[in-house]
């Protein structure tokens, strides 16, 4: 090692860190501030549309975990009627292959990402929990028809101003109480 440049390299680095001292932090204080996830997010808990589902079972074959349980019986006009549609979200890897494989648009990924459960049994989702509801919305992953309903994704690239929460310039004193408090 030689200080051939008389420590100019070190000084340059110090200047850069000093410059960053006056830049706004990029931290997002998660439970208090929430960013909008991507419209195509592969969130937890599939959304299942019972009226569209014909019980063909393509999704069960597409699942690489063998995770979707589908039980049907023949109803009138020789159509399948779904008795049981069950999925263990604790074993699901959220790859989205079942959604892609569904030929009748009867499945969609969910947008939610706060689905921690206290018991493993609660992670097994049945027909009711998978159906569309107020809280349980489909994402636009492979289902572009749902894209318009979802908020725009907040990107760090645009300083997260659009769609997401604004970053204040001096966030030292920023303490908002989130819904968890």
């Amino acid at each position: 090692m030689k200080f051939e440049r008389y420590g100019i390299g070190i000084a340059k680095g110090l200047a850069l860190t000093l410059k960053h001292l006056f830049r706004a932090p990029i931290t997002v204080q998660y439970p208090d501030e929430k960013l909008n996830v991507s419209r195509r997010t592969r969130g937890n808990e599939l959304v299942w549309f019972p009226d569209k589902c014909t019980g063909c079972g393509t999704c069960t074959k597409a699942c690489l975990q063998g995770n979707i349980i589908l039980v049907t019986h023949r109803g009138e006009e020789n159509k399948f009627i779904v008795d049981k549609f069950e999925l263990d979200s604790g074993r699901c890897i959220f790859c989205g292959l079942c959604v892609e494989s569904c030929p009748y648009n009867a499945l969609a990924m969910g947008v939610d990402y706060e689905c921690a459960k206290y018991r493993r049994g609660d992670a097994v989702l049945g027909k009711e929990k998978l159906s569309l509801s107020e809280k349980h919305k489909p994402s636009a992953y492979y289902r572009p028809q749902f894209a318009a309903e979802l908020p725009e994704q907040s990107l760090l690239l645009y300083n997260r101003k659009e769609g997401g929460q604004k970053l204040s310039i001096f966030p030292l004193s920023k303490r908002k109480r989130g819904p968890h408090a």
Binding site: K2, F3, Y6, L14, P25
Partner: protein, 370 residues
């Protein structure tokens, strides 16, 4: 006349017995200093975490209390509640003594740090020598901890600590002698009083050497080889938990505070300053020095152990010696009222010497044939 002496005089005039006249003011002083030091250390920990996070465009802890000021207290409570684990293969006694050996000398340093005019516990006439002597003891503590843990990483850290401390004591002492030459005394109070011009201007090279040396002494980046978490995980305190770990943790920041105080005293004209009370000036300067240390930590990578020692012996030691000779000549030749010429000469010499040495010296080491 320090505050302690005045207190003693007051007690004497109240006809207290002799032993009480000496004991009571000393105890009061010690208690005040320890509580001040521990409070400032807690502020330090908070300040470092907040500041380094801003250097790294994050927020840092801001949940506990306003701006996260109680975060170090929460950390301390957490650490104190933890189980005290002693490894089976450890040397139990030394493992127990080591944190104390590290922590106590650091507190002892504050006996001679002048917080304000007369606000000093013991105005020793060899004050700065006392600092050097006492602060070396904690190296033994570190080595004891490293050795007694029976861990291989901490063993490496212990070896590194000895090499590092031995190397950096010498340039540090030599740069202090330069100050003693100008002041004519080792007393901390006299050194502060002598600084009409802060010695950072009068002896820029001495300041540089002392600052880098003290970075090494307090194991701060880029000389934080003892704790190099990417290499030897946590170094000497890898096998410590609970209260004992807290001692190391406080010691680490305590020594940073102590050296920031000494740098302030020696080079930044101590408590002197306009308008504000002396203690406030002192704390402001200490905080500034500490902020620079944090700034350096946030930027620089770490030396390797052979480069570290080579830097001390090949770069800092020769410069320190030349600096000393230079100061000695200047003290002889230049009359005391022409100190500003000395500033100019010293800045010129510092620049020339650094440029010259940057060209001359190489850090040796590298691959060893095995």
């Amino acid at each position: 006349m320090t505050l302690l002496d005045q207190f003693q005089l007051i007690l004497k005039s109240q006809n207290w017995p002799d032993w009480a006249v000496y004991l009571v003011p000393a105890l009061v002083g010690i208690i005040i200093i320890i509580s001040v030091v521990l409070t400032v250390v807690i502020v330090y920990i908070w300040w470092e975490r907040r500041l380094i996070s801003r250097f790294q465009i994050r927020l840092g802890p801001n949940r506990c209390g306003p701006e996260g000021i109680f975060q170090p207290i929460a950390t301390a409570v957490k650490i104190l509640l933890k189980e005290d684990i002693v490894p089976e293969k450890a040397d139990k006694l030394i493992h127990f003594i080591a944190p104390i050996t590290v922590f106590v000398p650091i507190l002892l340093i504050f006996a001679v740090v002048p917080f304000g005019e007369g606000a000093i516990l013991a105005d020793l006439n060899v004050g700065i020598v006392y600092v050097i002597a006492i602060s070396s003891i904690s190296v033994i503590g570190i080595f004891m901890a490293a050795w007694a843990s029976g861990n291989k990483y901490s063993f490496i850290s212990g070896m590194r600590s000895i090499a590092q401390m031995v190397s950096y004591e010498i340039p540090v002492v030599l740069s202090i002698v330069g100050i003693a030459l100008v002041v004519g005394s080792f007393s901390m109070l006299k050194i502060v009083e002598a600084q009409n011009i802060p010695f950072i201007l009068l002896q820029p090279l001495g300041f540089l050497i002392f600052f880098l040396g003290s970075l090494a002494e307090m194991n701060r980046s880029p000389f934080d080889l003892l704790e190099a978490d990417s290499e030897i995980v946590a170094g000497y305190h890898i096998e410590y938990s609970g209260m004992k770990f807290a001692m190391f943790y406080l010691g680490e920041y305590g020594v940073a505070l102590a050296y920031a105080g000494i740098i302030t005293t020696l080079f930044l004209s101590g408590w002197q300053g306009p308008l504000l009370p002396p203690v406030i000036w002192f704390l402001i300067k200490v905080m500034m020095v500490f902020s620079v240390i944090v700034w350096i930590r946030s930027t620089l990578p770490r030396f390797r152990v052979d480069q570290l020692t080579a830097f001390a012996w090949k770069f800092m030691l020769p410069l320190a010696v030349i600096n000393l000779v230079l100061i000695a000549i200047e003290v002889l030749v230049i009359p005391a009222n022409l100190q500003w010429t000395m500033v100019l000469i010293n800045f010129g010499f510092a620049a020339v010497l650094i440029l010259l040495w940057s060209k001359l010296f190489t850090l040796g080491g590298g691959r060893v044939e095995v």
